[in-house]
């Protein structure tokens, strides 16, 4: 570890900024709020990379004013990091100022923003998938009694190839029928590549009548390559609605996209996010076969019925379909879950059917009992089975987890299972077994330590009370999270 730390270098300017922001509270009576997350992984050679990461979030608050910075030391960063994968650096990655009032909010420096329900712009930080999409610039929001206005101008900072300047705004009138719209313009410059300019506008209506609520968005985009003169237009329409009567809630959504691709050169600077339509996976094996909406051409729709027959019970059924004109990346899913809670036991059972145009059908079964041994002690189990075909052969993948937790001290868990993987040498499927043990605990108030050892299959995982996407990994893991 010391060898790693010795190689971390910090620019003088960054050091001075941290120094100033750290001593200000003692002088001016600001309040300080900080979070430090240190993570180290030592990988075995067969999968994953070794890395050391430290991320410090420091916030200073005085009345309605907040100063913030995020300092990162990576040696190197994890290879799955979407912003700067597998690179070594020690820098202040975010620094910002915010003035917040009930009527006006001003942000300068690093900020995030989602506009037009993601169809205009989606610049967000999502640490659960190691993604940091933020802008550097300024944003002002006016929150007036009947109208909400946001204006922004900034550089997209999540891509090392493209240098994109984004300007735009949106407004929504809230009475009597909420309607709104927005516009962004982006100029992209990339080294060795011609300039690119584009515009997107979006309009929406968000009606709510008693138990019925809905929203419909329409957006159009236009993009032009200045050197070659190529240009294209794209559009998307999205709608969703829900209603409820008694214990039953119904929900439906649809999306039609035609060449709606708001991005720079390559796929590293996608500025927008379409609604998912399919279910967001919250279990490990179910996250293995996922279809992404292809914004170039897709029609998608889904429906969901949620029923709560008695208190402490839920039944959810849903379906979703994605259809692409060339049968590329088509997807269909059917989902049913039951949840029941008793005094000392809760039980979740799930069946999901998934089929993509490239793969045969896949069936998923999840059984997740949670046993309360007493008020503070519990045993959580998660059994997952996925069966279908892999490259023409029948395959069953297994995953299991048992986590014993004692609040507030921590949890100890064991996960393991088997994946059927293609083996070139035998030209067939071979089982790959994995097992991992972890311990997660509060070593002091606001200081949480996680230690783990073993092989994980990769995918969406929930352990120690939080969830995140993790790539496949084998080795030792340490994470220390502290807040002050």
């Amino acid at each position: 570890m010391s060898k790693i730390l010795r190689r971390v270098r910090l620019k003088n300017r960054a050091f001075l900024l941290i120094l100033l922001i750290s001593i200000i509270p003692t002088i001016f009576g600001f309040s300080a709020n900080a979070r430090n997350t240190l993570e180290y992984r030592g990988a075995k050679e067969d999968r994953g990379n070794s890395f050391f990461e430290d991320r410090l979030d420091l916030r200073l608050n005085y009345s309605n004013i907040t100063f913030g910075l995020t300092f990162e030391a990576m040696q190197p960063s994890r290879e799955s990091a979407l912003t700067r994968p597998d690179s070594t650096y020690a820098e202040i990655m975010q620094r910002w100022f915010e003035l917040k009032h009930s009527v006006v909010e001003i942000s300068a420096g690093t900020f995030t923003s989602t506009m037009g329900g993601g169809l205009l712009l989606d610049a967000r930080e999502r640490r659960e998938i190691q993604q940091d999409h933020h802008l550097d610039g300024a944003k002002i929001r006016l929150n007036l009694p009947i109208i909400d206005i946001t204006l922004l101008s900034g550089l997209a900072k999540w891509d090392v190839i493209n240098d994109a300047h984004i300007r735009g705004g949106e407004a929504q009138i809230d009475v009597p029928l909420p309607v709104g719209g927005g516009y962004i313009r982006y100029d992209v410059q990339a080294e060795g590549l011609p300039d690119l300019i584009g515009e997107t506008w979006e309009a929406r209506i968000v009606p709510m009548f008693g138990p019925l609520s809905a929203e419909v968005h329409y957006a159009q985009t236009w993009q032009k390559d200045l050197q070659y003169g190529d240009s294209y237009n794209g559009e998307v329409i999205y709608g969703s609605g829900s209603t409820f009567f008694g214990p039953i809630t119904l929900f439906g959504e649809f999306l039609m996209a035609d060449s709606f691709l708001v991005e720079g050169y390559g796929d590293t600077l996608v500025l927008t996010t379409l609604p998912l339509i399919i279910r967001q996976p919250s279990y490990t094996l179910m996250s293995r076969h996922l279809a992404e909406l292809d914004p170039r051409d897709v029609t998608a729709f889904g429906g969901e019925a949620l029923i709560s027959p008695v208190f402490g019970s839920d039944i959810t059924t849903s379906f979703a379909m994605l259809d692409n004109p060339d049968d590329y990346n088509d997807y269909f899913e059917l989902y049913c879950s039951v949840f029941r809670e008793w005094e000392k036991l809760t039980f979740t059972g799930i069946y999901e059917f998934q089929q993509t145009s490239d793969d045969p059908p896949t069936h998923n079964v999840v059984l997740e009992p949670l046993i309360y041994l007493n008020d503070r002690t519990s045993l959580l189990m998660d059994f997952e089975l996925q069966f279908g075909e892999e490259l023409g052969e029948s395959a069953a993948h297994l995953y299991g987890l048992a986590e014993f937790a004692r609040s507030p001290y921590g949890a100890i868990g064991l996960e393991g299972g088997r994946l059927m993987q293609w083996n070139d040498e035998t030209a067939g499927l071979e089982p790959e077994y994995f097992a991992r043990i972890y311990i997660d605990g509060e070593i002091a108030q606001n200081h949480k330590l996680t230690l783990a050892f073993g092989k994980r299959p990769g995918g969406f995982t929930c352990s120690g009370g939080t969830c995140r996407f993790e790539p496949a990994f084998n080795g030792f893991e340490l994470k220390l999270s502290s807040s002050f």
Partner: protein, 180 residues
């Protein structure tokens, strides 16, 4: 100066700033829309009563478990005059599913939509759920990352620690001592 020295100094400064700061840490203010389009301002909510705030998302199983437990104890929380602000971190991909999900669960919390994640970033929250007990001026009395079954017992003990006057009132009310 070598990187290790810089690093040590930064950590030392961080500790010193936390120790010597005049006041308790504050959670930044926000004005965000709730699930029904109404504006919710944190400072106003805090000034009106006892506020508990937690970050959650529909895809986050521990978050849902935590909110289910709080919902089960709604009567107790109501008796303490506690307002629960559930800051929803569902982004554009899944935010449409929030309202039917909440409706089905029967939750009566104030569901605040932080679709762009701006408040999460301001608050320095990395992993969800993260739970806060706040004072009248947004002071952070207590914070807790993650949720394990049984954590709610710890929360309730903290309520008694940080909202003692209200607790006494409730106990007195139950005993009929301050009833008119």
């Amino acid at each position: 100066m070598s990187g290790i020295k810089y690093y040590t100094i930064i950590v030392a400064l961080l500790f010193s700033s936390a120790i010597f700061a005049d006041d308790a840490a504050l959670l930044p203010d926000f004005s965000l829309k709730d699930m029904n389009g109404e504006t919710v301002t944190l400072s106003e909510a805090c000034s009106l009563g006892n506020v508990v705030l937690t970050f959650w998302a529909t895809w986050c199983k521990p978050c849902v478990k935590e909110l289910r437990k709080l919902h089960e104890n709604k009567d107790y929380l109501d008796s303490l005059g506690i307002t629960i602000l559930a800051i929803c971190e569902d982004g554009p991909r899944t935010k449409a599913k929030v309202k039917p999900f909440v409706q089905n669960e029967g939750w009566e919390f104030v569901i605040v939509m932080d679709t762009g994640g701006g408040f999460k970033m301001s608050a320095g929250v990395a992993d969800i759920p993260e739970f806060f007990i706040l004072g009248k001026n947004r002071e952070i009395f207590y914070r807790h990352v993650g949720y394990k079954p049984g954590d709610e017992v710890e929360y309730f003990e903290k309520f008694e620690e940080f909202f003692p006057v209200v607790i006494e009132d409730v106990e007195n009310t139950e005993e009929g001592e301050i009833e008119e």
